[in-house]
Symmetry: C2
Subunit: 421 residues, 2 copies
């Protein structure tokens, strides 16, 4: 990596329209910006087609100009005027709204980085999957809220799904589907037979060494102090309770068609080993890297090749040690609840995710205590299950179930506050 940032940005804009075409949904977020960082250092390798953001028109315009994109889309129509003004005279097309977002997602490109956070990412990513796009998947909801539907759509459309999350990228790298264009076909029965366990690691979060009593007293400030990754508040809270690992198991279950009973979590405070596969000959193949999202992003951008990423190189002797622990389901019940949801099926995980979002929100605004998150999620799952959870067969059904679960969760948060008060 000898190119400086400014040189490479120059090279990128000067390279006209060669290289692989790439669109980036969620370009102003952390994954989006890291994607631009990796891409801008490889002039000529990629050309950016479309970029999108929720409502940060200024930030999006700047990215669109630097990356030499053709189209910039804000999801929020209210941000359209600002985007249009910021792109004035650049020749970059500006658009806004849901239909424009779906259009940005389905423009023919070699790769689509799907990094919209939350349920807003579902419709555009699903539309891209139906068109057979090669999707670099960073949107969790596609798998947790609508995993069965999403993977079936990808299969039917002939889409290739390349995971971006560090744990799933690790598993993908280890399972190494060089021969399969469509990763869902990778694990043919013969190959799957040789796999005994598929494990993702958990840092253990900021409460790893805390007692149950200490955890019960923890506020949002304590919960968001993640030891190894700089992440948003919501995902940091998920990480503190190990709910994030439960959600990641569910994602792995869908991505690799691995049965729940073969999926495992091990706590690994250094966050160097991200995932591994254990085979019936006693062999374990693991992926390791310094915790830096640019490594899995580069892998998804380059696959099946490996392109350079400007990350710190792993030096095991310098690190000295890697440690591992069994996750404590007593102090971190969310993981067990998520595993139960995975076993119950996709409807249950839709409810899990929705109830968790509402509960974490309530915790972050200090309306409930940390252990209440898991309690409310479990309670929502019980209540919605009593009415019967079907497998969502369409995006509308998934979103309807998501809304129902959120309503029940909000009611429970309210009851809870009333009881506590």
């Amino acid at each position: 990596m000898t190119l400086s940032r400014s040189q490479s940005a120059h090279g990128q804009s000067a390279q006209s329209r060669s290289g692989q075409s790439l669109s980036i949904l969620g370009a102003t977020g952390s994954i989006g910006r890291n994607t631009i960082d990796v891409v801008s250092r490889l002039p000529g390798r990629f050309r950016v087609e479309a970029v999108s953001a929720n409502r940060d028109a200024e930030g999006l315009a700047q990215i669109a100009i630097e990356a030499g994109a053709r189209l910039a889309v804000v999801a929020d129509p209210d941000a359209y005027a600002a985007l249009k003004a910021a792109l004035s005279g650049t020749g970059i097309e500006a658009a806004a709204g849901q239909a424009a977002l779906v259009e940005a997602a389905t423009r023919p490109v070699d790769r689509l980085m799907a990094a919209i956070v939350g349920a807003a990412g579902l419709a555009p990513t699903l539309a891209a999957a139906a068109r057979g796009t090669t999707i670099l998947l960073a949107n969790k909801e596609c798998l947790v809220t609508a995993g069965t539907l999403f993977m079936a759509t990808a299969r039917a459309g002939g889409a290739t799904i390349l995971p971006v999350d560090s744990e799933h990228s690790a598993l993908f790298q280890v399972l190494n589907p060089v021969q399969a264009l469509n990763p869902v076909q990778v694990l043919d029965p013969d190959r799957l037979k040789a796999v005994e366990t598929v494990t993702i690691t958990a840092s253990g979060g900021p409460f790893r060494t805390w007692s149950a009593e200490q955890i019960a007293e923890a506020g949002p400030r304590e919960a968001v102090r993640h030891p190894n990754w700089a992440m948003g508040a919501k995902i940091s809270v998920d990480s503190a309770g190990l709910m994030n690992k439960g959600l990641e198991l569910i994602e792995a279950h869908h991505l690799f068609a691995i049965a729940p009973e073969r999926l495992a979590v091990v706590v690994h405070p250094e966050s160097i080993v991200h995932g591994f596969v254990s085979y019936r000959d006693g062999s374990v193949i693991a992926q390791l890297a310094e915790p830096d999202m640019r490594t899995p992003i580069a892998y998804s951008l380059g696959w099946p090749d490996r392109i350079p990423a400007p990350t710190k190189r792993l030096d095991l002797a310098e690190l000295g040690r890697l440690t591992f622990e069994t996750p404590d389901l007593r102090r971190f019940p969310a993981l067990g609840i998520a595993i139960a949801a995975m076993e119950a099926g996709n409807g249950a995980t839709t409810v899990l995710n929705a109830a968790n979002e509402i509960s974490v929100e309530a915790f972050l605004s200090e309306r409930i205590r940390f252990p209440d998150i898991a309690k409310i999620v479990e309670n929502v799952m019980d209540r919605v299950a009593r009415t019967g959870i079907g497998e969502p067969a369409s995006l509308d059904e998934a979103l309807e179930l998501d809304r129902t679960a959120r309503d029940v969760a909000r009611a429970l948060v309210g009851e809870h506050i009333a009881t506590a008060g």
Copy 2:
């Protein structure tokens, strides 16, 4: 693995001639016996064609009978009568001598386990390589004494070389050449470009935490106490001085066509991580397993499939920690000497290996001290280099260079004893 040993042995002999054909050279040694152990638990998967031993006629006959082999060969003609007697009435053919050994090695089989220890393995394994055999390579000399010749012969003959040594099996598993029948073709230039470093691990041996002064006083008893693997005396001494890692780097250099400057060693006392490859995107792919030779043996037997091996499963949480250190070339100069030999070329490594064998022998019989091993090896390399070391172009040339180096080493051991006395 529900079959007991006796059941599976029964199944094996009852299965007549189905499955993949397999010959085992060096069947009475540790690799040979472990191979039989893995194979005997998979009735119907393999049928044993030929087995060989140096001179243990009784041991070989027992293995041949249990495995249902067709041919048993002792290298030593003096052991022929005993073998013939032991196999009397079994229908298993008995033979002896070098020509019979080469015949056993070149009988058409699906896989040949080449596990003869020492230079005696060169001629039969090279003959098998020339015939395009799929060779499970456990003989170190093929790569250290005649690596360039051996790999060129394998390429020309269309042979597939599957490494059995745990470190090289690790690298092979990680580089994962599922598409290439001939592993030497695996690392095409594009793929190699993405590899930054290829690392094997070293347990550090029994002297890892010893001072240079303590090491200088160590006798054979101390040197052969390997912390993790039960191995022969010679290889244990190599391990105590890190010479074994130097030899393994040389093997990796030939097997995977990796330039010396990209090869590295890290000390890892637990011997769980066996090798890893570091890529330019910051990603590291590693192979881990409990230290048990049946895992790499099973991998070489099953490749590209994975067959079951009855080994203890790796449990990282149970282990708790993995530690890593930089090797100390001051206390363990043999590693540096071996790396210099690898950089100098195949003639130098022939000399290195020969001089090392003589020196280790002298140390084991308490004629020289531990640090003298590396000193004598270095001295032999200097002296032989002064007369000019060419790249051995034939087996005869390699063996001639090997003999020359042994003679010089013996003379130096003698001088050394005279001086010390």
